[in-house]
Symmetry: C2
Subunit: 324 residues, 2 copies
């Protein structure tokens, strides 16, 4: 199969409205814009964001798509389509490459149905280095964009879902932690297949003042919110949502709470909202079958204060993942 | 300098209208859309699209931007902004990396002024592999989109500029050809710094029936036009535009004409238009200080026929660069 056949046979079925993708035939594609468009882009690298020689390209496709969906969810936007840049390693050889791409496209197809989005265009290159995949996701602006920089004094701080599952999965994959098979699989699946609250996010725009997704770690991403909003935050360790399994691991000192708050790739949302929206938020979360938890408050000043159950300050040397 | 400082100090000055880039502060950005938007995306890889350890990141920035501008020009669209995905190699170390990025941003800035475009958003990752850069360029649809698949029987076939200069420069860089210093520099600069006819392209939409840019080689890209338009083409070798230098090299048998028609990365346009638009096209080209040359005709059938000055058929084993 040559490049032309790969595009026509494997990727063209992922394009739904050919009047915008132009049958993936051209040097560019159109966007079906009726409203203002929100764009985000994310790259993942073999060996960093997923394991070297990972054969399950179905999971890689979904993780790439979902990390971008998580970004759009944090903006309160409604995703509709994406373009792809695939940098494929020479080492694969043709047959292996085609199988890899087929499984990759299968993952995209499943998630296209789940999230009601479609492929719009892209580009492919062959490289001597590791596999690198970039995805640019497009969404419509809803009534308002939720900015990271708009947290207001006295806002409540919420997170969706549970924190740290992905980071525990990553430790297990690196053989730095070993639990029983059931738990190992649970955490690894949380790491390999995040489930960002896309439908919740796109309805959040009239309720939240600020938001971001937790990709670099809860503390680092909360710190991004208060830095760009010029305010401080106080959060309560006791209120951070963990699964029952994780609570047990903390109790047994098998995992450090510091790690859970800084390990990143949760792809949950952290957002701030006026107290008066509490009931609306709980209702919206219920409607979308997700959990939200109030973990603290936005305060004056510029500090991020982390308090334990006795209201004692905890200090963290490192707030989370830094790209460089 | 950490990632946050790099974004704020080096890249934020490249964003002009902060209401769309959101100060590069958020997980996504907006597009300033009043019209329908055309999107293209391109990746370049160290060692493939530019030399390994190339220090002149100013040129890399411009080549990346211009290869995308070339794509939009071939669609007849008007570029307005772009997002970036940088996969930066670990091997650089922090200081070298920052200097590399600064020079890269300088190149972007110069071309932003030249082409009246701006940075809208992006993503950065650090990788163990080679440098990979992806750029997604956005443009407004003008009155019509020029598709690759719309060549009509009896259309004239045109190319802009000259063919093969970039390919000769590439051979010189690989030490497979050596001319005098002046000529070496001329061809290398054509390879490192393409100059796609952006203003010409964005005014072509009412004149051309079909178009693409010459990235994979004149024959390969013309073949893409006739394949997707279900037609044939006849072109005349005598009419292909070469610089006087190149004509000399052909005469002295220092370079093979086959190579010039298949080497790619010309970033000129190849387009087809009704005969009656000849004068309009010449005028449009003059206005934009570029050369256009009629090299043949679209015909019935599905064959690409290449004729020499005695109307004898030439055959080419390879039509041009294949990605895989």
């Amino acid at each position: 199969m040559n490049e032309y056949e790969v595009i026509k046979k494997i990727f063209l079925p992922l394009s739904i409205r050919k009047e915008y993708s132009l049958n993936l035939d051209d040097d560019a594609n159109l966007l079906p814009n009726k409203k203002q468009i929100v764009v985000c882009t994310d790259s993942i690298v073999e060996g960093d964001h997923f394991q070297k020689n990972e054969k399950n390209s179905l999971l890689i496709a979904k993780k790439l798509l979902r990390s971008n969906l998580s970004d759009l969810a944090s903006m309160g936007a409604e995703p509709f389509g994406y373009t792809l840049n695939l940098s494929l390693p020479k080492k694969f050889g043709n047959k292996k490459l085609i199988n890899w791409i087929k499984l990759f496209a299968k993952g995209l197809k499943q998630d296209q149905l789940k999230y009601q989005i479609e492929l719009l265009g892209g580009d492919t290159v062959i490289t001597k280095g590791p596999l690198i995949l970039s995805l640019t996701l497009f969404g419509f602006k809803k009534k308002k964009i939720i900015k990271r920089s708009n947290a207001q004094n006295n806002d409540d701080i919420y997170v969706t879902g549970n924190i740290g599952d992905s980071g525990i999965g990553y430790k297990i994959l690196l053989n730095k932690l070993n639990l029983n098979t059931k738990l190992n699989n649970f955490y690894i699946s949380k790491h390999k297949l995040p489930d960002p609250p896309v439908n919740f996010g796109k309805n959040l725009c009239l309720l939240a003042n600020s938001a971001t997704d937790i990709s670099d770690g809860l503390l680092a991403d909360l710190n991004n919110i208060i830095t760009s909003s010029s305010c401080g935050a106080t959060i309560y360790i006791e209120n951070i949502p963990f699964t029952t399994y994780t609570k047990n691991l903390i109790k047994k000192k098998k995992i450090d709470i510091n790690y859970l708050l800084t390990c990143g790739e949760d792809y949950q949302l952290i957002f701030t909202a006026k107290r008066k929206y509490y009931n609306n938020l709980i209702l919206l979360a219920k409607k979308n079958f997700i959990k939200i938890t109030k973990i603290g408050k936005i305060v004056k000043g510029k500090k991020l204060l982390i308090l334990d159950k006795n209201n004692q300050k905890l200090s963290f040397q490192n707030l989370g993942f830094k790209h460089f």
